[in-house]
């Protein structure tokens, strides 16, 4: 009896002095770029023309495109290839993780390509070096000329797997290409990949063109053209090159933009010194007037769900940003800061509105919440405007002009991008001077 009691008592005591679980709250981390090793793709020896230098270099070229994409984000730090211990032919099979962690890589990209019968097959794998495991593995088959797009798609997949948000690399930017002196600028519509490659010109430069905007399927573009000195909104099919005037308005139409479903175009129509916002259904060609005010209402932009519209108006005396329902009701002013606000654009995520602000002779690109709160000015300069969102809502592209000298020299217009955190501001590569950028949605969805 005594023994049982002692045993029981000991067990109870033991339970009572057991240590509680230590919990530590980690509420902060670092925002340093993630070190990533991007190994060149291994070229399969069974490829056609394997001895051809171009074929051999293809693996290197694809990995360099991925590397350039990653470096441009500011979120990743692609490691120097000279430090890689494992060669691509072995690394793509099963990496030796110790070798990669030695060079502080946290993620590793490996892969191989096979070029056979005019088909390019590319496989890639993303590895978690710390966990010694594969994170994602995909294969693509395409025509060899598409290798650059495959590199962008691979970048998107890796970006999505590591950050949790969709990528923006397999996209294009349409803009107005500018050449010539400031007083006699030749402006053409131009389109390029987001990394500045594959530039194509869509118009000849005979007429002034402004504000090109993609539609959600990326095949159509709407823009303003001064054809025969009459400013009107046009629609251009990129694939066929066919253009048409949007609507039959007895005056100037401008600031066009597509609705999220691509079925409507929203724009401003000016007559007798007053401008209001209209929509036109591209299928039925029906026109609807949304605002009815004696002031200048312009720069409309739909919310991603198509239920709301933001625009700017000077109905309060100063140019400010307003929102309304897509039927034109429930108009609310959302900007109340000092200065003038213009070119509002609703984020694809739906949570922010980007804008240009003019205050004290300087131009700012900023963002605010859709109710007008939380205004943040991301960048300040002599002259900059026309922000456009990347398809994932993380970056803004806009254009910036430099001040010209007395003789008109020194003037430039360039495209810039900035992260919504205000970091990673960088100039985009363009063949000529550029303005009025518009970022497409992802080409491969």
């Amino acid at each position: 009896m005594k023994k049982i009691f002692y045993i029981f008592a000991i067990l109870l005591f033991k339970t009572s002095i057991a240590y509680s679980l230590i919990e530590v709250d980690i509420t902060r981390g670092n925002l340093d770029p993630l070190p990533v090793a991007i190994s060149p793709l291994h070229v399969d020896p069974q490829s056609d023309n394997y001895q051809d230098i171009k074929t051999k270099e293809l693996g290197e070229l694809i990995s360099s495109v991925v590397e350039k994409n990653f470096r441009s984000t500011g979120l990743f730090n692609p490691l120097n290839k000279d430090a890689f211990v494992q060669k691509p032919d072995i690394a793509h099979l099963k990496p030796r993780f110790e070798d990669w962690s030695l060079i502080t890589a946290q993620a590793l990209v490996t892969g191989k390509l096979l070029l056979k019968d005019e088909k390019l097959k590319i496989e890639f794998r993303l590895w978690d070096v710390a966990a010694n495991k594969e994170m994602i593995a995909l294969a693509f088959t395409t025509t060899p000329s598409n290798w650059r797009r495959v590199a962008h798609i691979i970048s998107d997949k890796i970006y999505e797997r590591l950050t949790g948000e969709t990528g923006y690399f397999d996209t294009r930017i349409i803009y107005v290409s500018e050449t010539g002196p400031k007083t006699q600028r030749v402006k053409k519509l131009a389109i390029m990949d987001q990394d500045g490659e594959n530039t194509k010109y869509l118009t000849l430069g005979n007429e002034l063109v402004l504000t090109p905007r993609f539609n959600p399927t990326n095949q159509l573009v709407t823009y303003l053209s001064y054809f025969r000195n009459l400013p009107r909104v046009y629609l251009l099919d990129i694939e066929t090159g066919i253009q048409e005037v949007v609507g039959n308005f007895p005056g100037m139409t401008f600031a066009p933009r597509f609705s999220p479903d691509g079925k409507k175009i929203i724009m401003s129509f000016a007559k007798d010194g007053n401008s209001d916002i209209y929509t036109m259904n591209l299928e039925s060609r029906l026109v609807e007037k949304l605002t009815e005010d004696s002031s200048i209402d312009t720069s409309p932009s739909y919310s991603p769900d198509g239920k709301y519209i933001c625009f700017n108006s000077d109905r309060s005396g100063l140019q400010q940003i307003y929102t309304m329902k897509s039927d034109g009701t429930d108009v609310k002013r959302i900007s109340f800061g000092d200065g003038l606000y213009g070119t509002p654009v609703w984020s694809p995520r739906g949570d922010l509105i980007a804008f240009t602000k003019v205050k004290g002779g300087k131009f700012y690109i900023g963002v605010m919440r859709v109710d007008g709160s939380g205004e943040r000015l991301l960048t300040e300069n002599f002259y900059q405007e026309a922000p456009s969102w990347s398809p994932n809502g993380r970056l803004l592209v806009f254009y910036r002009e430099t001040k010209s000298g007395k003789n008109g020299k020194g003037f430039t217009a360039k495209l810039w991008s900035i992260d919504i955190t205000g970091y990673n501001e960088r100039e985009l590569e363009t063949e000529t001077d550029a303005s009025d950028p518009s970022w497409s949605s992802l080409l491969s969805k």
Partner: protein, 268 residues
Amino acid sequence: MTRSLIYSLFFHAIMILLTILSLPFMIRQPIDLPPIISVELIQISENTNIPFAPKARKVLEKVKEEEKRVVSEQAPPAAKAKEKPDRIPLPKKQDEKKEIIKKKQNPKEVEPEIRQASEFEKKEIIDANQIAALIDKAKEESAKVEKSKNKLTQSNVKNSFASGLTLSEEDALRAQIFGCWTVPLGLPYDEDLLVRVKLELKQDGTINKSEILDHERMNKPGQKFYKILAESALRAVRICQPLRVPQTGYEKWKTIQLNFDPTEMLKG
């Protein structure tokens, strides 16, 4: 019969007593964290990573410049890091720690803090107004923390008084993991971003086993971000190992839970 009854009553009484003693809620009193604790924290170690207000920081820097000797008296012995710089020394005597824990469990007994403040007053390092300024700041900060996330506040209380790590040890561990954790930036701000990682550690601080406690969330629809967040947390502890753990008291910290939550950081 009577004897059996006495035995029975005696054993039942012992059983009830033991049960009472062993039940956690009977020994843990609800604790209101006195704001003055933060003042004490700053004095524990010069390497502490707990953020404090710029005003308080200025006061402390001024104090350090004026009288470094006294600050070193408040800090742990200087010889702590010579043998193994990556380890955090425990206080000299286990008995002392037990005593402190016991006192902190009773909110009325705040003598250690008061005594510490009076020591400052005696040596005329900082005046009462400066102390008051620090305390006021600490009050403001603790109020903000409570307002922002009640769950974490409760957890902090538990960490401070019931865990096997001292505050500076816990702080050092936290600071180490801060440096290793690369926060994914595509996270939604309005979702629950808490990832609980349970670790089984070896005596040298390396990881024996790691486990995501809410791993079922990873495969739920609309919770894709959680998988990426959980992976980043696991990556952080793996990169960080060996973790900075005390040289002694292995039984206390061999199992540890890290609660990763970047909400405040992402909201700025």
